[in-house]
Every structure is written in C-alpha cells, then in structure tokens.
Point group: C2
Chain length 217, copies 2
DNA sequence: AGTGATACGGAACGACGTTCCGTTTGTCAA
DNA sequence: TTGACAAACGGAACGTCGTTCCGTATCACT
C-alpha cells in the first residue's frame, strides 16, 4: 500500500529543480490549502469536503488525490498555519522592540488559535492523522516564542520566570475557553497576561513567588 | 416549539396512575435507554441510531418520537446514568464502613466515566442539547460524594481538606486521560488517590500543606 | 506535433441523521 | 366484548456526508 510515486524521489534529491511534479497539480494543492484554511476558519473544521473543493475551483477527486482522508487535509492546513505562525516570530523580532515583538506575536498566535474551533475535539477523536500534531505544534511554536521571550528578558522588559510552553498553553486556553462569542474578550485577557509579564521585569521581588498563583475556579 | 403533550400533565398530577401514556410506549422508551447505554458503552457515543434501534427491537421512528434529535438520546442516557451513580451513594453508605463506602463509590463513578469516551468531545460540540449537562452532572454527583466524604471525615478515616468537586474532577481526568487502553491503569491510579485520602486522616500534619501539590507535567 | 503518463471532474456508492406515511395497537366508552 | 379513534408503530425514502471509480483532459518531454 501507499506506492512511493516516483515524483517524490526527485523532490528530495534536488530541492531546486522539482520537475516531474506537474504545474497544475502544485497549483491545485496550493488553492486547496488556501480554500481549506478559509473554510475551516468560517465554518469550522467539520466543513464538508465538497465546500472546500468548490471554493478551490477543483473537483472532489482532486482533494482526495492530495489528501487520502479528510483528516489529512485538516492536519496539513494545521501544519501550514503552525509554520506561518512560527515564521512570524523572527520577523517581528527584527522589526520591533523585544516586548512589542512579543506582544504582537502573541496576538498573532491568538488569531491562529481562534480559527481552530472544533479542532480540539478532533485531536482527541483518535484519528491517526492527528497523532503527530501536538508534537508538531510544540516543536515549532515553543522555540519561536522562547526566542522572543529570551530577547525581552535580556532587555529587562519582562520577568524571567515564565517558560514558553506554559505561556503557549495559557494563551491557548484563554482564547479557546471564551467560547464562541468572546474573541475580543479573549484578546483582552491575553493583553492582561502580557502586562503581567511586564510587571515583574528586572525585579525578583520577594513578594512575588516564582510561580504564578493558581488561576481561580 | 416543543408542544407539551397532554400525557405529561397527568403524569405530574398523579404519580401513581400514569394512564394516557400507552404501555408499549413506556416499554419501548425503557428498552431504548437500556440499548443506548449498552451501545454507547461498546461503540462510543457516536454509534449509529439504527444500531441502537435494532438492539432495542424498535423502529427508527420510535427513537425519534421519544428523542427529536440524536443528541437528546445521548443526553437522556447520560442523565439516567448520573442519577443511578448518585443514587448508589446512600446505598453504599448504609452498607459499608465510611471509607469503604467511599472507595466503592469512587470505583462505581470510575466505571461510569469509563463508558463516556467521546462524550467529552460532544459536550464541546456546541449542541444545545448538551448545554445543561455539566450542571446536571455537578448538581447530582457533588452532594452524593460530599455525603460520603463527610461521613469518612467524621469517622476520622480520611483527611478533611479535600472537597467533593475537586475529587470528582481529579478522578474523572484520571480515568479519561489514560487513553483507550489503560482502564485498569486508571483504576489503579484512583486507588492510589484513595490511599492518599487515608494518609492524612486525623492528622493535620505540619509537613503537609493544605492543598495538594500541583500535578506534574 | 505526437504520445504516454499524470492529474482531472463528477457521477456513483454506502452510511448516516432525519422525515414521512400507511399500518398496527392500546385504551376507553358503549 | 366490541367498536372506534387517537396514539404509537415500522420501515421506506430523502438529503448530506466521506470516499471511490472511471472516462476524459492536460501537462511534459521527444
């Protein structure tokens, strides 16, 4: 099962000349990912495959040629967005002051999470296509955030006792837990969190324990 | 919408004579709930309606007459099991020593949770039929467990700084988080938790903080 | 320009949730 | 008991979904 397909061989060997992959195939794959991202954002990850195919201007079979199962498409879109979000970190880091870059990236991350309604449930559905996703998420986003955090700490603009992963989880929960309505409310909470990071900057503060207080409720 | 149905009126007025509800209807409803419970337990809450109807020896339309939507059936089975689980508490409390009753009830509760794979996802699906379920869960199970806890504390058999709701959540997470395989492993962890309750009995213990340590990871 | 592999579109399939409707069955009055 | 009517029934039928199949069109290379 799963014949290798002689195209992929060349693709890995010579990253520049990726011939033997037909132009229309590549074009359709891009359109598909783009359409899926848009549709998932508006209708959730449970949107029908037909709707995505229609939006991409493509037949249904084309979807299934690139992604043997529906869940593979979901996973591919997810990975692509993780990549884009991670890639935004160094760009922002170069363009802004450390703490500003951090704030902007967290907002970027927030809007990424906001489009993922319904995916949290899918992740626990047991579909093997999603097995590798949590690890992919962490492996890419944690270093991206970590670098921004480090820079801000070095600049003395934020406290130094918060780790990237816990911040990722906290912000993620903050924007998901607000339900369907409070996208703005979630963003406000994230801003509050960022101010919290600023508060302890360059001040080990005897009154502040090294761990955040347990969130109430 | 949701016409009252003249049958229910009498049902409330005279608890004994519940005429005007045809005998076969009541019989089928019971069979349906029973079958759904069994099927949900083996095939998960996503099992087809047809399978449940077949198991109950009933037509599909009969299912939809009693439960206008599939999710209503799921909710009804859930409520029924919550009721049964809550009702087990006083029974066990009368039949055993306090800490033994507590342990038995928690295991009972564990096996209830174990059949709920896939329901956690359904709860967050946004279906209005599930809106009231979390509150129903807590309102019934928390007092049931609380009474067992209180009895065990009064008997000096367990520590007194654990609240019913946090224990409900902890045991719930413990048995759900173990994934598909570790039903037994989950049960072992719950037993461990019960031993933890015993440990601090009648001993305020200066070395033990009043709150459990944060779970690692 | 010709040719063979590659990718395409859309009809078709099976399974699902849900609805419809002709038929059966329980209940109550006579 | 029997008759009649509302209540409840069963299963075919509908629309939608994920997925597969297959005849056709398109790209890449000579």
């Amino acid at each position: 099962m799963k014949q290798p397909g002689r195209a992929e061989r060349l693709e890995e060997a010579s990253p520049v000349a990726l011939r033997t992959v037909r132009a229309d195939a590549r074009r359709n794959l891009d359109a598909l990912l783009e359409a899926a991202k848009a549709v998932f954002g508006t209708s959730g990850v449970d949107a029908p495959v037909r709707e995505i195919a229609a939006r991409a201007g493509v037949g249904i079979a084309t979807v299934y040629r690139h992604f043997p199962q529906r869940s593979d498409l979901v996973a591919a879109v997810f990975r692509r967005e993780v990549d884009a979000c991670a890639a935004a970190a160094p760009t922002l880091g170069r363009a802004h002051q450390p703490v500003e870059a951090l704030a902007r990236w967290l907002r970027r991350y927030t809007s990424f999470i906001a489009t993922k309604r319904g995916l949290a449930a899918a992740l626990h559905s047991g579909d093997p296509a999603f097995d590798a996703l949590p690890a992919y998420f962490r492996q890419n986003l944690e270093p991206a955030l970590q670098s921004l955090l480090d820079a801000a700490v070095r600049a003395g603009q934020i406290r130094d006792d918060v780790e990237a992963y816990e911040l990722l989880r906290a912000v993620g929960n903050l924007t998901l837990a607000t339900g369907d309505d409070g996208v703005l409310q979630g963003r406000r909470m994230v801003d509050l969190l960022i101010d919290g990071l600023r508060f302890g900057a360059r001040a080990p503060a005897a009154s502040l324990p090294s761990k955040r207080r347990r969130p109430q409720r």
